[in-house]
Symmetry: C2
Subunit: 483 residues, 2 copies
């Protein structure tokens, strides 16, 4: 075991992050983008060393982990590109208007600036993509914030080694010391969260842990934003037409999705709603029977899963349709509504529930029964378009990402991605933890009023010397400001 | 006195807001913009009736209140325009990319959707612009959220009459019933804040009240965003060169700003930092001597001001330079740093403190002594550009808006405005309460994955039928999507 960070080491990490913040935040976009790309390159170069450590500590397979490194480094590069493009800064310039009513309008120039040091609580289930070098870190870097990661105890050696690679890369690239740091230990993380030098926090983990940390963050003497991704059931709703067109494909796709990564995805489809008479029981149980047993991330997760599965199997009205490397349960909408809280409690791991609905009213009732989720999925055909047009707003009310004829376990990293959803899937549902707009969580606006060009930051100057995208008097432009 | 809202009336208001939310939020931008413009027109038409009520209840003068109505209705129209333009929806479309690494990328289309009913706690000091028909209401409407305003007890009749005008206008325009409601009473506001149908809250008022309500909002079983504007000192820093160039103008400008509206502005300049030997004492005391006594907003504010002023005048090292209709105090940076917490406690009303600094190191120390503020101002000349380039980042670290050679009491409503700042000037400092981007507080993203064009909301369809501004594969465009 890697020992907990000592109080002296924690103080050093926080002091260094605070000291680095002004220079790290003030670096011109292309310069900071260069630092971020150097980190990506260093991680790619270290993949052969890092992946075996990750395999040993997480029990995840090599191909998956290599893909995760590629995803993480691609994510860093996407943020670097977005930083240079300039939209991340949301520059808005309103030139002075002496004729404005009811009073003349001054020259106002708004830009997003970094909040300061960000604390990231790493997750266990993605040792790269949601851990030390994951999306929270990448987006905070893009925002201009130094990052202190509280490593997950599930992969302590990987955390240390990843951090070393990143710190060395940042030093090589010329970033200020303290731009990145790693701390370890439960109590250490809580102490850091309360420290006034920490200006925001990101978290991926369980609902109870996320709620407890959220409360600490928002009731500090100086409250800070806390972005927590807590838990999600990710229901999938299937129409009769979709069953008719590709029932078997849906059955195998579903089992593949809910057992991916041993069911240890926050986007695992936890429930599949099928019309009664779907005729897929055999296909489903056959697919589940073919799932090989696999080791879970760690003993604690395995114990929690076993307890949760045993609990779920005993809920009245829930039947076991298949078990082995994964477990498939079955119930009905009527039973789900009667025992909603028991059935709709997330069980993290390779289990999912088929829920049979009898008619569209039951389908609507089932959708209404959910709290917030990261995703909701509809499997439907073109003949369902009227129904889909009615159901999609119900689904977007319950989830941050709505999929059509897909499976929620993949989360593409792009400009348009949204990984977040109404509470309790996240706290801070107005922002995303994946995708380019995730940087917005760690920025605050500053407006300059009537400042002369010579003293303005380069991104706000008339001539637009960095050539970034800006909103000038209401219209987006990469041009210069004409006063 | 207007009686408190009864439990039955509160239930009716919340139920109506919740019932209105889907239709109000789903209305196409141009349709909702039309509703908002109808509200603006109705308020303008009612100005002759509303302003006298406001004068009687707030003791503010007619010209100021007429300007405030114009500001409020202009604000509503600006939001309506921005809604139609489309940027408020932050549409981002990434078309599918089968060649993306490490995995193929689906078609993803992100749009901001309204959170749901918003609770607005109205302020006393702007009976229009930060009250029933103020910026929180306008921005929530633009976001697509029904609004329930908890009226300020300082102007109860105006609140009721303003709400009646707005409700009638919304009904005439065809908006769903419940899109707007008014409640009154301290306990009633707290009950509403805890209600699960309320999805976000805006607040303008004192630090203690704001902190207490914030804590309720973020520790509910389902935490909600709380945007509070609490208090601000708005320091002004003046260089020797600025004194040399226009010392007297600065003296009169300062007194005019801190006594505007009887000093009852959240952006009142509470401290003016002058270099020792500035020679402005006579000009300042003369200007203060010319300020006529005026009635404050209400008895409670007057009592709090009197208590605060008496306290401040007794702080060791604080001297009275002038008093009458307004009070001017004086101290030094050394004394301020020695009794920081006593001197840097906001006193809402017509009082401000001249603080003399001896050299640039003292000026830097003074800036560092501040917590978060809505504004910070620098008065400097072109010969100060090197100094200004050094000081501006120190000021943006402490404030959300940084003014050059101006006075902070005017807050223009435009695209680029930012009215917000680090804690304790606001909670939720990553967003603004004034300006077009204020709507972002009441929206959350939703991403559609691989949904066919026919079932997508109009704003996300390939053909861009509403002609709004969207980011397509990384670039802003009003064009159509080519798949």
């Amino acid at each position: 075991m890697t020992p907990d960070t000592t109080p002296a080491e924690l103080e050093q990490a926080l002091a260094a992050a605070a000291a680095a913040a002004p220079a790290f935040g003030a670096a011109e976009p292309a310069v900071r983008a260069g630092w971020i790309r150097t980190v990506a390159d260093a991680l790619d170069a270290a993949v052969d060393e890092l992946v075996p450590i990750a395999m040993r500590e997480s029990s995840l397979p090599e191909a998956r982990l290599r893909g995760e490194v590629a995803r993480s480094t691609g994510q860093l590069r996407l943020f670097a590109d977005a930083l240079v493009e300039g939209s991340l800064l949301e520059v808005v310039i309103d030139t002075a208007d002496a004729a404005a009513k009811p009073v003349p309008r001054p020259d106002l120039r708004r830009v997003l600036v970094p909040l300061g040091p960000v604390l990231v609580f790493a997750a266990s289930n993605f040792p790269f993509a949601f851990s030390v070098c994951g999306g929270d870190t990448a987006s905070a870097f893009a925002a201009g914030c130094p990052v202190v990661v509280k490593g997950h105890p599930g992969h302590p050696e990987l955390s240390v080694r990843t951090a070393e690679v990143m710190i060395e890369a940042l030093r090589t690239a010329g970033a200020p010391d303290g731009a990145f740091g790693l701390i370890q230990g439960f109590d250490v993380g809580v102490i850091a969260l309360k420290d006034p030098r920490i200006t925001a926090a990101g978290f991926t983990g369980s609902v109870p842990a996320g709620k407890a940390l959220h409360e600490i963050a928002v009731t500090r003497p100086e409250p800070i934003p806390f972005y927590g991704e807590l838990g999600s059931l990710n229901p999938v709703f299937v129409t009769q037409a979709a069953i008719d067109a590709r029932g078997k494909e849906i059955a195998t796709g579903y089992v593949g999705s809910f057992t991916l990564g041993v069911g240890q995805f926050c986007t695992k489809p936890g429930l599949l709603f099928l019309p009664v008479g779907h005729g897929l029981q055999d296909a489903l149980t056959e697919a589940v029977g073919g799932v090989a047993a696999a080791t879970m991330l760690n003993e604690r997760i395995k114990e929690t899963f076993d307890t949760g599965l045993t609990r779920l199997e005993k809920v009245e009205g829930v039947r076991v349709w298949g078990s082995g490397g994964a477990t498939l349960l079955q119930t009905t909408v009527g039973e789900l509504l009667a025992r909603r809280d028991e059935i709709l409690e997330e069980c993290f791991g390779p289990v999912s529930i088929v829920v049979e609905y009898d008619g569209l009213d039951e389908l609507r009732s089932a959708i209404a029964a959910f709290d917030g989720n990261l995703t909701a999925t509809l499997h439907a055909e073109e003949t369902d378009n009227d129904l889909a047009t009615e159901l999609l707003p119900l689904l977007t009310a319950k989830a941050g990402r709505v999929l059509w004829n897909g499976w929620p376990t993949g989360v593409a990293v792009s400009w348009a991605q949204h990984h977040g959803g109404p509470f309790p899937s996240t706290v801070g549902s107005i922002h995303t933890s994946v995708g380019v707009t995730a940087a917005r969580r760690f920025q605050r606006p500053v407006a300059y009023q009537d400042a002369p060009d010579a003293v303005l930051p380069a991104v706000l100057r008339d001539a637009n010397p960095l050539g970034i995208s800006r909103r000038i008097d209401g219209a987006i432009s990469t041009g210069e400001v004409k006063r």
